[in-house]
């Protein structure tokens, strides 16, 4: 399913045989996501009982000059709607990535570890889920004017990453 796929017309799915060996559907941000791919993924989940996994649930992808475009979560929304199932999310804010890192590199002292990112819902929540410090930069998704809920408050905020060197 990776990369561009040919568009299928609805009638092409009549009698289409789903590959029974596909047991996992993995969703990430995909510029080649189409109704055809969504249908194939839907059939794997609905007819094969394939497990539904998402790399992340990012709502937007910032492409610079202030413009944002729909992110992975927009691709997931369609699959959640038609399958009626929620995916297992392996990416931030799930602490799985942190566990993989400490497995490979050994335990980290949480008091001397910081997660720096531009998105509260993923980066900052991830840091809090892992019990480490958090830093928010305003060069991507988050804007100063947005503010945040008390529980989401990062330990540090910077206009840009290089400001880290100034403090």
């Amino acid at each position: 399913g990776l990369g561009p796929v040919d568009n299928r017309r609805p009638t092409d799915w009549d009698g289409y045989e789903v590959d029974p060996s596909v047991k996992y559907v993995v969703v990430s941000l995909d510029p080649h996501f189409t109704h055809t791919k969504m249908t194939e993924a839907y059939l794997y989940v609905a007819e094969n009982g394939a497990e539904f996994i998402a790399s992340d649930v990012d709502e937007y992808f910032s492409i610079g000059n202030g413009r944002q475009i729909p992110g992975t979560s927009s691709i997931l929304a369609g699959l959640i709607e038609c399958t009626g199932k929620l995916p297992t999310v392996t990416g931030k804010p799930n602490r799985l990535l942190f566990d993989i890192i400490t497995d490979r590199y050994g335990p980290l002292d949480p008091s001397r570890t910081i997660m720096i990112g531009d998105t509260i819902a993923t980066d900052i929540k991830f840091g809090k889920n892992c019990g480490i410090s958090t830093g928010l930069v305003y060069t991507g998704n988050a804007k100063q004017s947005d503010g945040f809920a008390r529980a989401d408050e990062p330990d540090y905020t910077w206009d840009r990453l290089s400001d880290l060197l100034i403090e």
Binding site: N7, D14, P31, F33, T34, T36, I69, G78, C82
Partner: protein, 292 residues
């Protein structure tokens, strides 16, 4: 009193009421013919946005044996959406269409300028930084579209978010029943990502939206709602539609709701005015037998 005494305008859902796929439901042809002969207004009202008027007329001819059914009495959510836009769109304005070949044909017939329709070139994310939007696009219409992809959704997102285009959908059905053995993701699933990113739902024209009825009432000069009956098989679309509009409804048990589902009437999430085993019962002598 019978149904013909009480009502002058009959709105029929199609699938599950008049026919199943390619087979007519028993009694359907008789009912429609009889109503037309008795000078009743008979309107077919389907949420399927992909079928053109000519395809629906062919189905009426082939399945019900009626060759002269008036084409202006045919309403799909695609036809209603097009009429809604036609009433509002100004000269020079355009529609960004996420839709099927059928809907494109209906819009072309109404001389509505459409962009975005059909196969859409995927974009690399970095390309969007330089994407220039067509300032003439004032409406984004969402409907069933087998060509829909991330690039099309992203363009629709930008038209609505940056150019403040009005966002309209023909319907939001999660699934599209291709055949009795296979369903595909439907319009609702196609548009879910766009709605999610916008944090906004579209204005839906199809049932159960009362806008669908406003368009019909306008076309047919319907002033007395007490003499209009909606006949359908779907509680969420047909019966809720009747409730939203303030007209009587008849639920038939030949489609989505089966006789066993209707056994305990108080369990139904929406209450129709009448419950009929099938559409043929509209010709029976006493409508009180079927009163819910």
């Amino acid at each position: 009193m019978n149904f013909l005494d009480k009502y002058d305008t009959f709105l029929f859902d199609c699938d599950g009421v008049l026919w199943h796929g390619n087979t007519a439901i028993e009694g359907a042809a008789n009912v429609v013919t009889y109503l037309l002969q008795n000078k009743k207004t008979v309107l077919l009202v389907t949420n399927n946005g992909t079928k053109t008027r000519s395809i629906l007329l062919k189905m009426v001819h082939a399945l019900l044996g009626i060759g002269d059914f008036p084409s202006e009495n045919m309403y799909s959510s695609g036809i209603a959406t097009t009429k809604y836009i036609k009433r509002k769109i100004k000269p020079g304005e355009k529609v960004f269409l996420i839709g099927s070949p059928g809907l494109k044909e209906i819009m072309d017939e109404s001389n509505i300028p459409v962009v975005g329709y059909g196969p859409f070139e995927p974009r690399l994310f970095s390309e969007y930084a330089a994407t220039k939007l067509d300032e003439k696009v004032k409406y984004v219409v969402g409907s069933f579209d087998p060509y829909c992809n991330h690039a099309k959704i992203t363009h629709a997102f930008l038209y609505i978010k940056e150019l403040k285009a009005e966002y309209i959908a023909s319907n939001l059905d999660k699934l599209y029943p291709l055949s009795p053995t296979r369903t595909l993701p439907g319009t609702g699933s196609i548009l879910a990502g766009l709605n999610n990113s916008l944090n906004q739902q579209p204005l839906v024209i199809g049932k159960p939206s009362p806008i669908f009825f406003e368009i019909i009432a306008d076309d047919f000069n319907i002033n007395d709602k007490s003499r209009v009956l909606m006949v359908g098989d779907n509680l969420q679309t047909d019966i809720t539609f009747a409730e939203n509009v303030g007209i009587d409804s008849a639920l038939v048990l030949t489609g989505i709701v089966k006789p066993e589902d209707a056994q305990n009437r108080s369990n139904l999430p929406v209450q129709p005015t009448y419950i009929l085993p099938s559409v043929g019962n509209l010709l029976d002598s006493d409508l009180l037998c079927y009163k819910n």
